[in-house]
Symmetry: C2
Subunit: 529 residues, 2 copies
């Protein structure tokens, strides 16, 4: 018995395109002698379709698309993820054979936590569904069904020898291993083969990492598809198949960021991007990753120096673009900023300079980047990191401006780690070492350093992880050994910045809890704990 | 038996403040001779607390606060909405008497549609809970429990004579009547008295409209609290109580917008707001409503004319501020815009002017308003309406910039209706009639009119309602009699603008489906149907 796992990159809402992607893989699998092909969860619609699922016309069109796919199921069995309406809406694994849909498994466990809203859309299934493939009785599951022991045990109890799982399992760093261990435990505990076909690709803030896998009855890996790219994994259950290696954390981050950016750009019909490069490390890393994702000719680096920009950063911005081989523009901002100060001279008379004047510089840059975007159709990629966004050390409509915020879920300490890694991997200074070595500064006033306004990043990032991602209270943080003054300061900044985050562009989710749909915090909120 | 319904305006996360608000009303009710006081759903925490509910420290603190409230329940019975953890988290009605929590009803029906995410946080209750108050057996429910027939029927079957309901029921225009009819049907169908205590106030995008009500066994109104303000409604079941009138649609919109703005401003610690007034109707209505909500001295009107501003709009902007009695600033933008064009002269060489130059004007204004906000601590209130935001006829970081977008859920046709209504009600031209009569224009190039770029608003708004709010497909819209070309054009614009809406400020939800958490649409989306 030969299985094919079609780890495909669908596009949400692209019913015609997704059907073509599916049918192409059906042909390929048939030619390779496969008896059965698995596709990811909701492959017909892309995942997550969100409120498209509330539109009756969309559900009807998805049903038509599934029927057309089923018609192609000749001399081969397909397991296809699709929405299915019969009285209520279900998230199903449809078994297609002999030109029609032969069986339907309705997803039993509907995740409604973290980034998931599945109970908003779907009713849970209750049935244990098996389907014979050749001589093998196959039990059907969809994604979350395998994250608790019940459904797999029910299937094994009903005689399943192979459990298939169609997934669209959102990525965070390390999720590949967590997922594989979970599925191996199910295989072992139930003495079943397990075949997991996972989606791959970027969809707004989410990444699906692939890493589809087939496990034997002992939970040992028989075959594994690579991460972060499409694949058709072919496996003979008695002989195994190719086993792609798992990669380390930094390489996962790099691959996820590049996939996320490339898919956001291309699925939204952009061809080129523009990045404001300051000579600092965030914009340098953003540009380097964008060049790897898109190629240098599709990445425009723009330096926008002011009177507070040092010779060093100004030269480094230019050198970065040279080293990366990208087009480069330099647009000084002092005259624009002076124009604002003149326009505001009367209302500001007698007031000292403060954050206002710093924000004017950041916003002048934001407006210039958006003007380039409007004129040339380039997507603006914002360069802020998760540490800044957490504490609000970022200017709304300034450095936060853009269509996509690549490093939104990367802490500053990881920006340093990734930058060094990117250089090591390239075997040369893609990111000039002077940029990596320079103390972080926003350069919005004389001799400004991030550490004048913020705790040192290594300390800050530890607090951020505990408070933002692990929901530790101030009391618990004190008990964890954090310095109380640091905690007070960080927590106050984090809570106060919610209004900024609400207007931030989307960016790649890399961590167990990202901002956005993953962390739903009120703006109006007097709790600080 | 005398009931008191404490229709209070809580603040999310403000455990101490909410407890004080509750205890003050307990004293007031006791002095008025009430036997029992009802409070809204989750009054202890404010509603909706969103992901604060995932923080164990917050849940523990809320439990402590409920205990302190219970201690004050002497010679009076309290029905208090609170989160309650015992193995799982529940959304409960806690009965406090004799200084302690005597009974707990766990909300049975957890809404997870529209703006609601309750299954993200809470487990459903299953029990039918009654509590004797004096000689009256009282059945307990929380909000959604009454929106389906089951729980009320179960309580009546168990002998309940009075059903109490603690609600935080999000407002849209007409919701007051829908809700009261639903509750009257429950009273009638079960032959029970019904007492509904609803929250009042604004919380980010949501408004709670109050309109707490007590109904007799036939579903007739015995007493009703007013809408959009706090109240302590006292009712003797055998004699009734005061009955505040319901008001018409336009008055509801006015009151909701003013409450929403005032609460956003004050609960977030602002004292003054700033509004860019163009001489157009959206900004005029925004300013007029802000003045009614906050008083004229707390509203700063700023006119930012360009070479494309007509004498008429420029004069009207000034006259509006005079008529409203607000401080006024005029900050011309031509020099700022010219500064940008100079900075961009080299990359833009040989290119025709297009949308880029229009957006530069809108963004120059956005940056000026933000500078005033930074310097003086004023909240920027954005003035765009729902029609513009639907089709993307708005500039990101330009006219969309701000902390709160007051008219975000008001269609342009309703902007006109409301403006006329505001003047009628004032008995004078709060909004100059010339502003109401002028054909809408963004004034970003010579002789520009909205209708050059958009279908006429009365036609457009009908399509928007059908497509955005009712999820009608293109096919269905054609069958509904809409002109296919209009539909194609509008739908394409709406879908394409999702990325802008994702970065829009919050604003008051007024309609059954608002943008934001109410309509969760992917940005990356190839479906257009």
């Amino acid at each position: 018995m030969r299985l094919a796992l079609a780890q495909i990159n669908t596009v949400v809402g692209d019913l015609d395109g997704n059907r073509e992607r599916i049918l192409r893989r059906v042909d390929e699998a048939r030619e390779a002698g496969a008896d059965v092909v698995l596709f990811p969860e909701l492959a017909v619609t892309g995942y997550p379709p969100e409120d498209l699922l509330l539109r009756p016309g969309f559900i009807r069109a998805a049903a038509r698309s599934l029927s057309q796919i089923a018609e192609a199921a000749r001399d081969i069995v397909l397991f296809v993820g699709a929405p299915h309406f019969d009285g209520a809406l279900y998230n199903v694994c449809a078994v297609c054979a002999d030109g029609e849909v032969k069986a339907i498994h309705r997803k039993r466990l509907l995740p409604n936590y973290g980034v998931f809203d599945e109970q908003r859309y779907f009713a849970p299934g209750h049935d244990v569904v098996l389907y014979p493939v050749g001589e093998l009785l196959t039990g059907l599951t969809v994604c979350e069904d395998m994250w608790q022991p019940g459904p797999a045990a029910d299937l094994a109890g009903a005689g399943a020898e192979l459990i298939v799982n169609l997934s669209a399992s959102p990525f965070h760093v390390g999720k590949d291993r967590e997922r594989e261990e979970m599925f191996a435990a199910r295989a072992r505990d139930n003495g079943c083969f397990v075949a997991l076909c996972n989606a791959v690709g970027g969809q707004d803030e989410l990444i699906f990492d692939g890493h589809s896998v087939v496990l034997d009855r002992k939970g040992e890996v028989l075959a594994r598809a690579p991460g972060f790219e499409e694949a058709l994994l072919l496996v003979d259950l008695d002989r195994g198949g190719p086993v792609a290696p798992l990669v380390d954390d930094l390489e996962q981050m790099r691959l996820a960021l590049e996939l996320g950016l490339r898919d956001y750009v291309e699925k939204n019909g952009f061809s080129e991007v523009v990045i404001g490069v300051s000579g600092g490390i965030d914009s340098a890393l953003t540009a380097a990753l964008a060049v790897e994702a898109l190629g240098p000719e599709r990445v425009h680096c723009v330096s926008m120096p002011s009177r507070y920009s040092s010779e060093g950063t100004r030269a480094d911005a230019r050198r970065l673009a040279e080293d990366l081989g990208t087009p480069f523009l330099e647009l000084p901002i002092d005259e624009v900023v002076d124009g604002y100060l003149e326009a505001l001279a009367e209302p500001f008379a007698g007031r000292e300079p403060d954050l206002t004047e710093e924000n004017l510089q950041a916003r002048s840059r934001g407006v210039l980047l958006m003007a380039l975007s409007n004129k040339f159709g380039w997507l603006v990629v914002a360069t802020g990191n998760k540490s800044e966004l957490s504490v609000g050390y970022a200017t709304l409509y300034g450095d936060m401006a853009g269509g996509f915020a690549l490093l939104k879920d990367v802490f500053k300490t990881d920006v340093f780690r990734l930058s060094k890694y990117v250089n090591e991997r390239a075997g040369r200074e893609l990111i000039p070492q002077t940029i990596i070595d320079r103390a972080p500064s926003a350069e919005l006033r004389e001799d400004q350093l991030d550490e004048d306004s913020l705790p040192p990043y290594p300390e800050l990032d530890r607090v951020l992880e505990a408070y933002v991602e692990l929901d530790r209270s101030r009391e618990e943080l004190a008990a964890d050994g954090f310095e109380p003054e640091l905690v007070e300061r960080a927590v106050a900044m984090i809570d106060r910045a919610e209004y900024k985050r609400r207007q931030a562009p989307p960016g790649v989710k890399l961590r167990p809890k990202a901002f956005g749909r993953d962390r739903r915090t009120p703006i109006t909120n007097k709790w600080s704990g």
